[in-house]
Subunit: 412 residues, 2 copies
């Protein structure tokens, strides 16, 4: 037990063996009507199986971060996994690394890199280098890797320059004794010179890390100095992989992550879930995987991505269709007889906004031990009147634990 | 004001004289349907008076500890009294002492004792001594009291060995300078030897207390060594009475506790409520007592036990009937014209589960100053849509205070 008794300490103290739990996440599930008086994506979708679960179980609205705050994918998933993302931060560099499937070790510092355009005196004229193509990004990263990969070998530090998309890349420094609290180079405005990286932790390792990164930045800018657009670069969110409390330890559950996209596998593995490999990329393939590993785990996180992608595209109909595809696989999950099944999203991505949004997320909890509410369908409006009320996403796992008989009584 | 400004500091700063408050607690009130599609105990009960209060007032669902966590009686009542039980812990020994009505002083360490069976080498073979009868427990405690009551008199320490039921008893050491953070003797598994008590506070008083208790344990085990089943024992939850903030000081209310069972009187007295003596054990007798002391107090906690007992028995019909009995006495409370009346439970005890459960607790608040919601009856499903929403039990007293005109405005 840590010196300050936390919710996690409480869970670690109270957990006991019990039934299996499934957390089915449709990314960006929450929506909005396309016009006043209309229905949301979820309300439009024909979802007989989800509606039946909502009728037998209870529903509510989940607040991923804080009211009014639009979540990024990383923080939104941390919150679903019960880690308050205001308290547990993942650096942008680490998130970008997770997003491209780069396996970070405990010896790595990762930074998000942005190619930029600078004038002859080094003043930034375009912080995104005219949003160069992703192909250009790949070429530039290869050029940097070739020219600077061994730059810090004398210090026992390896360099990895990995493309993301357009002007974005990931820089990873790998070596013993890296760390500190490192500042960013991006002046956050055009007409200014990039800043040097400094260490605000006043530690020896921080000072050395800043010095190493500044050495690399200088060499990297020289390497691309002759590029037309991407002749400079900036680094943001420089940090090591966070040392998050271990989900299986907190909850006493062996946890499996079934996801297609690297980012979600990455965040799940950060908290100690095990990644399930499987063929295919459709929700039905994910359930194939679920059925296969059902006996090996206590907790299953299943991630469906396309609901969010179609929301980002502004494609209302395709998002509706994807929700209906997920509805079709619900009976296969129910047939496995979980002790608690939660269907939710990490955040809202209304097609009308073509973006993540701050709106709370429709959620249903189904369990043999659930107290039914008056909800008879799964949709934003019905969830707003559901028996779970409006709750913080971080309480979802504890609620599922209770319903699955996995928490001991507190006190006599 | 303490160094950390707490909710209690805020209440102590804002309280002012006002109307009287009644907190009527039906233990284990919350329920579940016996089968899918059915009604809960409270929804089944015919409760015209409670329904009228729900219609005139507002309702909601109370979370006693944290979402998903099943409360014991002690923590659940602490929470109702506005003390977060995750922060304010009562030792198991103290709870057992409260449960049997043993009056603990500030000089006492109390432990929960379990008679156990050990083999010839002292290894535990049954941690509950075959669940001996309560009569056996009485005999064994008397034997221990006679043999060990004066064991530590040379150290100025008195010993009390009090039976609870079956294999359970309470040990109390009373003397100056006892304390520390004491570990338990129970190895929590058979096939192991009991552990010595140690002090993890590294204090002189802790070290001495551990030494005294180990002396007692050794003498006690010798005393019962010839018993067939209960030839050993273990001690758990060794602690002093917690020094809880004083309810009357925090809220500026003289508080009365009207309860039949010792445990609830005990927890109420721990926070500084005064215990009202009265004849009889039915809800109507409790209202007799309420009427009698109405002019002497500002706040009244009334505890009805049987709703929980019938829930634990799995007796749905009897729990329904007890709720109806409580409904019948509601007009007598209303006739006293309280400024705020809350009807709630400390936790749920669904007959179908025959146990306490984690489900949130139906709650109604009635007051001349209440803003009515759309609820027209008192039941789990209607409360889920009530105007109080889903709230932590610790906020109930402050809500009642506001409705009773007992909190000053904050700021100008």
């Amino acid at each position: 037990m840590s010196s300050v008794f936390t919710e996690f300490d409480l869970m670690a103290e109270l957990h006991q063996p019990g039934d299996k739990i499934v957390l089915l996440v449709m990314d960006g599930l929450g929506g909005l009507p396309m016009q006043a008086g209309g229905l949301t994506e979820l309300e439009t979708a024909v979802t007989p199986h989800l509606d039946r679960l909502a009728a037998e179980g209870m529903t509510g609205l989940s607040v991923p971060i804080r009211p009014g705050i639009e979540p990024g994918s990383g923080p939104a998933h941390l919150s679903l996994f019960s880690y308050d993302p205001v308290r547990y931060e993942i650096g942008r560099g680490v998130l970008e690394g997770l997003g491209i499937g780069f396996t970070l070790t405990a010896n790595d510092i990762a930074a998000r890199g942005n190619f930029a355009t600078a004038d002859a005196d080094g003043f930034i004229t375009d912080r995104r280098a005219g949003r160069i193509s992703s192909e250009e990004c790949v070429r530039l990263c290869a050029k940097l890797q070739a020219a600077t990969g061994d730059l810090l070998a004398d210090e026992g530090v390896q360099i990895f320059v990995e493309p993301v998309e357009q002007h974005r890349f990931v820089l990873v420094l790998r070596g013993e004794g890296l760390g500190g609290a490192l500042t960013e180079t991006d002046p956050l405005a055009t007409g200014k010179r990039p800043l040097p990286v400094t260490d605000s932790s006043n530690s020896a390792e921080g000072e050395r890390s800043a010095w190493l990164i500044n050495r690399w930045v200088e060499a990297a800018r020289q390497t691309i100095a002759d590029e037309a657009k991407a002749n400079s670069l900036n680094l943001r969110g420089l940090a090591k992989k966070p040392d998050l409390p271990h989900f299986p330890h907190i909850y006493g559950m062996r946890a499996a992550a079934i996801a297609v996209y690297p980012m979600y596998k990455g965040v799940a593995s950060l908290v100690g879930m095990e990644i399930v490999d499987f063929a295919g990329d459709r929700p039905s393939h994910e359930i194939d995987a679920l059925e296969k590993v059902w006996n090996d785990f206590d907790f299953f996180f299943i991630h469906v991505k396309k609901t969010d992608s179609y929301g980002e595209d502004g494609n209302f109909a395709a998002k509706v269709h994807e929700i209906e595809e997920v509805d079709a696989i619900i009976p296969r999950i129910v047939a496995l007889q979980p002790g608690a099944l939660i269907v939710t999203g990490d955040h809202s991505t209304p097609a009308v906004l073509r973006s993540h949004s701050f709106h709370p997320v429709p959620t249903l909890l189904w369990s043999p031990r659930v107290r039914p509410d008056t909800t008879t369908s799964f949709g934003e409006r019905s969830c707003a009147a559901g028996g779970m009320g409006i709750f913080h996403a971080t309480t979802m796992i504890p609620q599922a634990m209770g319903h699955a008989g996995r928490l001991k009584r507190i006190g006599a």
